[in-house]
């Protein structure tokens, strides 16, 4: 069992996302320690991209802030290397295919392995183009996380069959961001996954409140929250660490209320 899969063995997993380098690298580092301490089972660190087409305004703006503040891929590798000295939960990078490809896919994955990154989530690398990164991911033992969407339908089984780590179930159409209601048939999507794999399923996009975390955890093995956390960081900047930690503890508890 990989370290990512193990993250789903402590009840329903809670997976927070932060944009690396927003508002600065020191805050990102402090946030990672605090979120791990407060019960995060896995942390997604976003490598900011100039043109994040799957993101709503909240994460778009975080990417812009991080890039303006001078965040680079190399600085995030160095950050992960530092936090890995004490943080033992799995860490995955969430970024777009271009920052990986342009950096040199092999060099990127080699660095991931060296600093202790467990997996990568690449929203603009669909199943059909997976081979762009899959061979180098395999070579360096980095798990390439697959996403499924409400429109995936018959694609779900093919995607799930070849998936690694966990399945990222996109709860709603559109881009990332807080939603008041999630109306997709998540139960149906998860059922299709279960037919072909035992890999854990985490549900993301639109989740912000403890009630939503509780409801969504009922369908899968974990919940992912990005925009709601990034919004707190946008509002409170360097002072956001404690508030984000409290929120993580509350959401982890809510996800396990079922």
């Amino acid at each position: 069992m990989s370290r990512i899969q193990e993250a789903f063995t402590h009840g329903k997993a809670f997976i927070p996302f932060v944009t690396g380098g927003d508002p600065d690298l020191e805050t990102t580092e402090a946030l990672i320690y605090e979120m791990a301490k407060q019960g995060a089972d896995l942390i997604e660190i976003g490598i900011p991209f100039s043109d994040p087409i799957a993101e709503g305004p909240v994460i778009q703006e975080a990417d812009e802030r991080a890039l303006r503040a001078g965040c680079t891929t190399d600085k995030l590798f160095a950050l992960v290397e530092r936090v890995r000295k004490t943080v033992t939960i799995p860490l995955v990078f969430m970024t777009y295919v271009n920052p990986i490809y342009s950096y040199g896919s092999e060099k990127f994955m080699a660095n991931c392995k060296q600093v202790g990154i467990d997996g990568v989530i690449v929203p603009d690398l669909p199943f059909e183009e997976k081979e762009e990164l899959n061979p180098v991911c395999r070579q360096y033992g980095i798990e390439l996380i697959s996403l499924i969407a409400p429109t995936s339908k018959e694609r779900i089984k093919s995607i799930a069959k070849e998936a690694e780590g966990f399945i990222y179930c996109v709860s709603s159409m559109g881009v990332t961001g807080v939603r008041s209601e999630i109306t997709s048939d998540i139960g149906g999507m998860v059922a299709l996954v279960r037919q072909v794999t035992d890999l854990p399923v985490a549900i993301g996009f639109g989740i912000a409140t403890p009630k939503q975390a509780e409801d969504m955890a009922g369908y899968g093995d974990g919940v992912i929250v990005g925009s709601a956390i990034v919004k707190m960081i946008a509002e409170q900047g360097r002072e956001s660490v404690k508030a984000v930690g409290d929120y993580v503890a509350k959401m982890k508890a809510a996800a396990n209320r079922t």
Partner: protein
């Protein structure tokens, strides 16, 4: 070239979020079906002739030819199409396709506004809801086109993210499409984006090159020696080039926007300065930094102000079948004025990049050579901006 996988050499592909994959496959299947459907072909042909005004003329620019003293120059008059540019060729095809697919709404990005105006036009004609995404900076540069789109019944969304230009308009249109795929088709405006768009747009635009070939055969009894077109994403150039790719004696020349100069950070010359990347659904060449962050680009021409190039162009560049040259703002403006005064034709500032290179190149060629310049659009929309560039105040 394995066209089945949407690849042009190593370029192309389908790099879009899972939320869009089903939609992209749906377009692919619909296009493969309808492109050979006699009724679809007949309806599109009817629209091309009697609505868009095809075939567009191939005009012998005698005064320009004499003035430059070199090769014989012909102008392919895409500026005379309905809506004033080549964009209508692709849009009529795609909106007709959307209609056949049962869609009720089309969305599109636009830079200069030519593709937005063409899409709004076709949507009005075929009774479709239409929303256009345009960088806020471009809505200011091209205010008249914004009003024109609204007049045609489209809703125009100024895009305020990123650099507020064409690339950001594409980002926002993709985001919008991923929210609503059921009733909506993204009518992509250039030979870019995920497969099947580079192929579909090329096919609908290839009428330009087919006509050039037939018209020149009739006038001169032979093929041209060179075909010159401007390149942003590259749709008018691909349309003009495609028919001639197997005719290796015909030189194919794409003119990209060098802005203030290829060595100045303010340029949009992707072939000159770009490197391999994967963005906007395709593997191609992009202006970007060492960490793969897409560079803010600049050109006086909103339509060429794009940090990438269509994947088939990237391949034609790599194989050497086409060559790509940078043209500065100043050269383009001079060409804009030159063609206006010499031939009484005001070309779009985009097309003026092609005219500018032809002015340099035709001069070097002997008189028995023939050069065709694709005048992809008309320049009415640019008059105010050129006046500003020249320091002339116009009260609109």
């Amino acid at each position: 070239m394995s066209e089945k996988a949407g690849r042009y050499g190593e370029y192309g592909g389908q790099y879009v979020p899972e939320t869009l994959m089903t939609a992209v496959h749906e377009v692919e299947q619909a296009y493969e079906h309808y492109k050979n459907d006699p009724e679809f072909v007949r309806d599109l042909d009817e629209l091309m002739r009697n609505y868009a005004g095809r075939p567009s003329m191939l005009y012998y620019a005698e005064r320009m030819t004499k003035d430059l003293g070199g090769a014989k120059i012909y102008l392919k008059r895409e500026d005379l199409n309905h809506t004033g540019s080549h964009k209508i060729n692709n849009v009529l095809g795609q909106v007709l396709l959307a209609k056949r697919m049962g869609k009720t709404r089309v969305i599109a990005e636009t830079g200069a506004g030519q593709h937005g105006v063409a899409t709004a036009t076709a949507a009005a004609l075929m009774d479709m809801e239409c929303e256009i995404f345009m960088g806020k900076e471009d809505t200011e540069r091209q205010a008249l086109n914004v009003y024109r789109m609204e007049l045609l019944g489209a809703k125009v969304h100024p895009v305020t993210s990123g650099t507020m230009t064409l690339k950001d308009a594409v980002n926002e249109t993709m985001r919008e499409w991923s929210k609503r795929v059921d009733d909506t088709l993204y009518v992509l405006g250039s030979v870019m984006g995920p497969h099947p768009f580079p192929m579909i747009v090329r096919d609908f635009q290839s009428v330009i090159g087919k006509e050039i070939k037939a018209q020149l055969m009739e006038r001169e009894g032979r093929l041209p020696d060179a075909v010159i077109a401007c390149v942003g994403g590259g749709s008018n150039a691909m349309g003009a080039f495609y028919e001639f790719i197997p005719d290796t004696q015909v030189e194919l020349i794409g003119c990209e926007a060098a802005g203030l100069g290829v060595d100045n950070p303010k340029n949009a010359a992707t072939i000159a300065n770009g490197t391999k990347g994967i963005f906007h659904g395709m593997k191609s060449l992009f202006c970007q930094n060492e960490f793969g962050q897409i560079a803010p680009v600049y050109s006086i021409s909103a339509g060429l102000d794009y940090p990438g190039i269509g994947p088939e162009h990237a391949m034609l560049h790599e194989t050497g079948r086409a060559k790509y040259v940078p043209i500065t703002d100043e050269e383009a403006v001079q060409a804009f004025e030159y063609l206006s005064r010499l031939e009484g034709i005001i070309p779009a500032i985009e097309s003026s990049h092609a005219v500018a290179y032809a002015m340099k190149y035709a001069k070097e060629l002997p008189k028995d050579k023939i050069v065709v310049i694709n005048i992809s659009g008309r320049g009415d929309k640019d008059v105010a901006a050129i006046a500003r560039y020249r320091g002339v105040k116009i009260y609109e």
